[in-house]
Structure formats: structure tokens, C-alpha cells
């Protein structure tokens, strides 16, 4: 029942994910952080099979860090996305595939451009202006088709994100109560209160 969306704007990517952890019909936590800060300029929102999600996210997090330690420079968003995709694609045809869906938001410090990647558990990778996973996608994508602007300021971007969150709260039966929103831009990653 995870809900996550992300959108790009002028020089930033906004990533939002709900904060609930559920076991069947029971909410066991309401302050879970499902958006990992993989590097100073890379965010990853993850959702899917409980257990797989954290295991896979931490595996990615440690390996992205390892690459940076070994090579001094970290992977750029495009390269990180490509490597993460391949990890999922290889896992798909293994004995126990991960069922994890991702949204990767990054800021490329060498070209000064924001990048957003939609990745699913099959290893499907697509660079998109906005994206969503879970039941939220059925509401958010149509809203974003109408309101998304790649040149929008951060304030405008947050307002658009608010619309998505409000619409899900209004129309989705099992809507989550709280969201965590993070942004990545030239200054790095940070949490945004909405």
C-alpha cells in the first residue's frame, strides 16, 4: 500500500513517500523514512515487498558509498540509475528476485541538471519529468500531466506535490496519513516540511 511520487523542477527534484509501515491491516509505525540519501546529490524512494525493500536499499546505499570511497568521485545520477537497474535486472532472473520499486531523484553537479528515474522490480528504467509508484500513481500521474512544469520554482513544485498528496488523501480508500518529502538540488539533499 506504499505511495510515492517525485517530480522535477528548475534545478531540483522533489521526492515524496508515505511514512507508514503496515502488517496486513495493522499500522505498526507511522514515521518510517522510505527515502534513502544515497549520496550528497542522490535520493532513492523505495517501495515493495517488506523485507526486500530495506535489504535492497541498504545494499545499494553501501555499494554507492563504496564506489565513492574507491574512486574519490561518486556516480552521477545517470550512472547510478544504470547500475541500480542492472542490479534489479540480474536479481529478476535469479532464484530469489527482489520485489522493489524505486524512484531515483538526482542532481548532476557536472551538468547542473536535475534527473528523475522511474525504476520497477523488473529492472525497467525510464527517465521521466515526474513519476509515481503504488496506488498513488493512478491519481498523481493525471494531476501531474495537467500541472507539472519543468521550469517551476521550488515553491511551485511543492504546491504541485501538495495537490497530489491532497488528491490521494481525498480519493484513495486506504490513503496514508503522513508523507516525508525530500528535495535534491545544487546544495544537496534535505527534508522539506509541508
Amino acid at each position: 500500500m506504499d505511495v510515492s511520487f517525485a517530480l522535477t523542477g528548475k534545478g531540483y527534484v522533489l521526492v515524496a513517500a508515505d511514512t507508514t509501515a503496515a502488517h496486513s491491516i495493522i499500522k505498526v509505525k507511522s514515521d518510517v523514512d522510505k527515502i534513502k540519501e544515497l549520496s550528497p546529490h542522490l535520493l532513492m524512494a523505495y517501495s515493495g515487498e517488506p523485507g526486500d525493500t530495506v535489504q535492497f536499499a541498504e545494499y545499494i546505499e553501501r555499494n554507492i558509498r563504496l564506489y565513492q570511497i574507491r574512486n574519490t568521485y561518486g556516480l552521477r545520477p545517470q550512472s547510478a540509475a544504470s547500475w541500480i537497474r542492472r542490479s534489479l535486472a540480474e536479481s529478476l532472473r535469479s532464484r530469489h528476485p527482489y520485489s522493489v520499486n524505486l524512484l531515483l531523484g538526482g542532481y548532476d553537479v557536472s551538468t547542473y541538471t536535475p534527473h528523475l528515474y522511474w525504476v520497477d522490480y523488473l529492472g525497467t528504467l525510464a527517465e521521466v519529468p515526474f513519476a509515481a509508484h503504488g496506488y498513488g500513481s493512478y491519481f498523481a500521474l493525471s494531476l501531474l500531466d495537467r500541472y507539472h512544469d519543468p521550469e517551476a520554482s521550488l515553491e511551485e513544485g511543492i504546491a504541485t506535490l501538495r495537490r497530489c498528496i491532497d488528491e490521494v488523501a481525498k480519493r484513495l480508500v486506504v490513503s496514508p496519513g503522513k508523507y516525508l518529502v525530500k528535495v535534491v538540488d545544487k546544495d544537496g539533499t534535505r527534508v522539506i516540511e509541508i
Partner: protein
Amino acid sequence: MSIMQHNGGSVIAMVGKDCVAIASDLRLGVQSLSISSNFEKIFPVTERLYVGFPGLATDVTTLREVFRYRVNMYTIKEERAIEPTIFTQLVSSTLYERRFGPYFIEPVIAGLQKTPSGSYEPFIAATDLIGCINFAKDFVVAGTASEKLFGVAEGLWEPGLEPEDLFETISQTLMNAVDRDAFSGWGAIVHVITKDKVITRKLKGRMD
């Protein structure tokens, strides 16, 4: 619904007079939900050879990477660019390696083949998901709109089309076919390969 229909998408290639064209739609979806309107499925192999991968999107990316690697290795070892016929055999054998757990892709290949006299002749081919090759003289199609592509192409195509006429023919064929397919569309891209240049154009299409 079958895995081959999971992400949607279609590719077509056609032969013209001293040229070939290859085109695809730009949709990426998950079942009926559209995710991206800019997902390219056609990739350059050499200056005069392109390959299209309609099918499961994860395998589109995987196979693109596999063939980029294998073609690079061939180029380094042989110290020459790979020819379309050789590349087709490479595609076939690579897919057949996974005979009992295949990549869910039906590749379409289009390029200009060098003849012993030094000139170029048009070449197109397609394979199924386990690498059975179809060498065609006119056109090849694959993807979720393949039936529609067959119908329109059979009606519009004629031998000996010049590059600009071939562009119009392949574009009309693709657009009208994908407009009747729920899993393909959302814009298109067309490459026309001639001996001295490749003309690439993006087409706007219906967004419904």
C-alpha cells in the same frame, strides 16, 4: 496478459531504394497505465546499422547493453565495423543462448550491407524472442501493434521508394497502426539510413 504485452510498444523496418528505414513508438507502460512518452527502443549499432527492441522494457535495456558490449568486442578483435548480416547472426545466437528462459524481445534490424564491390545494399531482418531469423525483402514488424502494422504496410509499401518517400510511408504505416493499438503510440521516432547519412525525426502522435 502475456509478458510480451506488459510494457507495450512496436517497431517496424522497411526497405527503400538504396536506403532503409526503422521506426518505433515512444510509449512505456505497465499494462494499461502509461509511464513514459519518451522511451526509445531503437539503438544505433554502427553508422549504417540500427536495431529495435520491442517487448519487455527491462530486456530492452539489458539487450541494448549486451549487444553494445558484444559489438564493441567484435569491433576491437576484427578491427572493422560489424556488418548487418553478421550482427543478425549475433542477435540470433545471443537470444538462442537463453532458449529455455528467454529475453522477451523480438528484435528488428535495419541497415546497409557492404557489397564486395564497395557499394551498399539495403538489409532488414527480424527475429522472434528465441532468435529465429526472418530475412525479408520488403518490411518487417514486431510488437503489440504487429498485426496492424502488417495490414497497413502491405497496403502502403511499394518497391524502390526514395528516402523521403520511404520516410512518409514508414511514418504513415506506424502512426495509423499504433493509433488502433492501446499499448503503442504516444509519439514516434523514425530513422532513415542512407549511404552518407542517417535522417532521424521525432513525430508527434495522438496522446490517447
